[in-house]
């Protein structure tokens, strides 16, 4: 018997890729997809596989690298989170027309909830828009099976295939049987075919026609037909589900003792939905309930509206994750049985905050000191939490801190009073989408300050390397890019580095940059200090400075409100208010020594 191992959904995806001969895997980190590439690299190392794995600078680049790999006949894959697919949508739409040579899978992990995303968008709709098939796994086990199915469809019908797991699949763990990993023996051969690989609009028309024909064929592909789990059940009502919602539904229908009564179908391939299946369910049932996340993708393909209940009829909530208790309620209502509405009480815990000792906190504190009333544009990453410190006014999408700063500048530039604009962006995010925006700012001579929060890693998603790290996913050495050189290369004339822990000097630097920007144009500061939880950079961290609160603390709460370090604890009882230090959380960064206006935070002798 093969080994069974406890694997995370994302690790199961990775295992599926290597077991199916994937030769190039690329990604840009993003929750809930981040662990996929790291796990591919793990299996690559563990099994000494000859393949290419890489973190790309963004999802579009990751897509294009993996796509070119499949143009040479290799099996390849690109993985990302759902909003990453927005960035990669340009090559996605075009690659759908051109098709593939070796199998190509686009893995886009959705985040119903959302647990840690800007939107709850449904990647299956992107697959519909691009006109490529999409598979919707219900578990780590099924996600591994679906990698094989996806490569088979991709190569049989000459199309990229999307795999759309959701957070509950990506981040569940399950015992998974490990199968054999073949060494890649495919010939690498790019065959020139300009009417396809470089098609002009006239040829694109033909490619579009061919694409629609492929989709018709895929809608009859037998291995991905919907599963009829309980063929013995007969009723005028049926339930259709997909993804993890199908996993919840199956269990609930059984526990409500409806397994023998209500026909239950699990859709594996929500687009294109099998044409015979559509015909069958519309003919066989009076009422059909569709339970799926996050949009009504299956539902909208079932054309006979008066029979179909789902998101469009408000039988299923349109927003948020479908928890099993919600599904229990939906199913009970559909079949007309009593059900008690159950909920887990919402935790009234602390709001998320930057870690104790986080260098971002120091940068934000300095920015607020230097620029009291500015417009603070920011970006996607841990530092979004600068919100709590009043140092973040906008967060739109990757890289927008810089372009929004430009927009604000242009909007205000003819006004008498122009606010100072300070943009903050992380190092990885700057590489990802900030560079083109900075070029634009230079060309337009936008008067603003950009602070690049360089903590030497992609912290929010679990410390993946950045282009400045000089490391690959297996820890292999790569070229390391210097941010300052890049900034100067964009044409920025003011670019200085600073250590945010040296808060007085850093505040002075921000002031200097603001003064420069008002008269001359864009000024960039690189705020450099390693992420406090990135173990790989322990040796670069400053010496521990023990701090204590003096007896004079009057509990004014200034440090709590403006610095919000989790290691500063606020106490309030009937007769006194004061602040104390949490010795376990405190990292000894010493930044708070400069925070208390009354000087009550002091170095412990």
């Amino acid at each position: 018997m093969n080994e069974r191992r406890l694997l995370l959904g994302n690790e199961a995806i990775a295992r599926g890729l290597v077991e199916n001969g994937c030769a190039i895997a690329t990604s840009y980190p993003g929750t809930p997809a981040s662990e996929i590439l790291a796990a591919v690299a793990y299996f690559q190392k563990e099994n000494k596989l000859s393949m290419h794995t890489q973190w790309a600078v963004n999802e579009k680049i990751a897509f294009e690298i993996a796509y070119a790999g499949c143009q040479t006949g290799l099996r390849t894959a690109v993985s990302m989170k759902q909003v990453g697919l927005n960035v990669a949508s340009d090559p996605l739409m075009s690659a759908a027309y051109m098709g593939i040579k070796g199998g190509f899978i686009v893995i886009s992990a959705d985040d119903p909830g959302p647990h840690s995303s800007q939107t709850e968008q449904d990647s299956r709709l992107m697959a519909m828009m691009a006109r490529i098939p999409v598979l919707d796994p219900d578990s780590p086990h099924q996600t591994k099976e679906m990698i094989g199915m996806a490569y088979a469809i991709s190569e049989e019908y000459n199309t990229p295939v999307m795999l759309r797991p959701t957070t509950r699949v990506c981040h569940a763990r399950q015992d998974i049987e490990l199968d054999y990993i073949p060494q890649n023996g495919r010939e690498v051969k790019f065959e020139k075919d300009p009417t396809r690989w470089a098609a002009t609009p006239r040829f694109r028309f033909h490619l579009h026609k061919a694409l629609e024909e492929k989709l018709m064929a895929v809608s009859q592909h037998a291995p991905t037909e919907p599963l009829r789990h309980n063929p013995e059940a007969t009723s005028s009502k049926a339930i259709i589900s997909s993804g993890v919602a199908a996993a919840h539904s199956r269990e609930i229908i059984k526990e409500l003792n409806l397994w023998q009564q209500i026909p239950f179908y699990q859709v594996l391939q929500p687009f294109p939905l099998h044409t015979q299946f559509i015909e069958h369910v519309i003919n066989a049932y009076e009422e059909i309930l569709v339970i799926e996340e996050t949009m009504g993708v299956i539902e909208m393909q079932l054309a006979d509206r008066h029979r179909v209940k789902g998101k469009m009829t408000n039988a299923v909530p349109r927003v948020g994750e479908l928890y099993p208790e919600t599904i229990q309620d939906i199913v009970s209502q559909f079949v007309g049985i009593q059900s008690e509405k159950l909920e887990i009480p919402f935790a009234t815990g602390r709001r998320p905050t930057l870690c104790a000792g986080c260098p971002h906190r120091a940068s934000f504190f300095a920015i607020k000191k230097a620029v009291k009333k500015g417009i603070y544009t920011s970006d996607i990453g841990c530092y979004t939490l600068g919100l709590n410190l009043g140092a973040v006014d906008t967060v739109l999408c990757m890289g927008a801190a810089i372009s929004q700063a430009c927009g604000f500048y242009h909007a205000y530039k003819r006004q008498k009073k122009r606010p100072d604009i300070v943009a903050t962006i992380g190092d990885s995010t700057f590489f990802h989408a900030g560079v083109p925006a900075l070029v634009d700012a230079v060309v337009q001579n936008v008067r603003f300050v950009l602070v690049i929060l360089d903590n030497r890693t992609t912290a929010m998603t679990g410390s993946q390397p950045t282009p400045a790290s000089g490391l690959g996913p297996c820890g292999e050495p790569l070229e390391a890019l210097d941010i300052k050189t890049l900034v100067r290369g964009c044409g920025v004339k003011f670019c200085e580095e600073g250590d945010p822990y040296q808060i007085k000097e850093f505040t002075a630097l921000v002031k200097k940059a603001v003064k420069y920007s008002r008269e001359h144009g864009p000024a960039v500061i690189i705020s450099r200090y390693p992420c406090i939880i990135d173990a790989a950079r322990k040796e670069e961290k400053a010496e521990y400075i023990p701090v204590e609160i003096t007896e004079d603390c009057d509990g004014c709460g200034y440090c709590i409100k403006h610095f919000e370090c989790p290691a500063l604890l606020y106490h309030e009882d009937e007769d006194e208010k004061f602040v104390s230090i949490d010795r376990i959380l405190c990292t000894g960064c010493g930044v708070c020594l400069n925070v208390c206006p009354k000087g009550s935070i002091v170095e412990k002798k």
Binding site: R4, H171, Q174, E251, L342, P345, P566
Partner: protein, 190 residues
Amino acid sequence: MVEPVRQQIIISGIGGQGVLFVTRLLAEAAIGKGLPVFTSETHGMAQRGGTVLSHLKVGGFSSPLIRPLQANGLLVLKAENVLQHGAFLKSGGWAVVNGRSDAMPQTNISADTIDADTLAQKIANPKSINLIVLGFALAKAEQTPEHQDSLFCSFEDIKAVLESRFSKNKELLDASLKALHAGFSAEGAE
């Protein structure tokens, strides 16, 4: 005929206590016994000091999550979490909670309590609260082996998992086994 194992267990605590480690030990114990297993955790913006919750399902389940009133057992490393996560426990299910019995929040759950924080200090291993509470739960389960909600695994099963995990680190293994045993043989566990 023996009923197939079917158990749903909630493990609750705060970041840094090792909720995920306990979950992993139990899941590996299940695999060791040839049982299918699912675990799910709160991920994302949870961080040190925040609530951590994990769902463990052993047996023939298809969903990775536990619904309210369905858990056979509750393993709670931080007593105040009972207020929130007690809602998962079905009637008649067991609850093992870290905390002094006089410091339990008011709920209708009857829990077995162990002061693992103090015990951990006593054995000079403050990070071993998770293993102490697990050991205590294993002892409680051993007292009611006939109970259908009783834990699916034994002290020996967990010991075997630890031995295999820490086979290359004798020091860590010994410390872990000591903590597990401290909970297993703690007062109130006999």
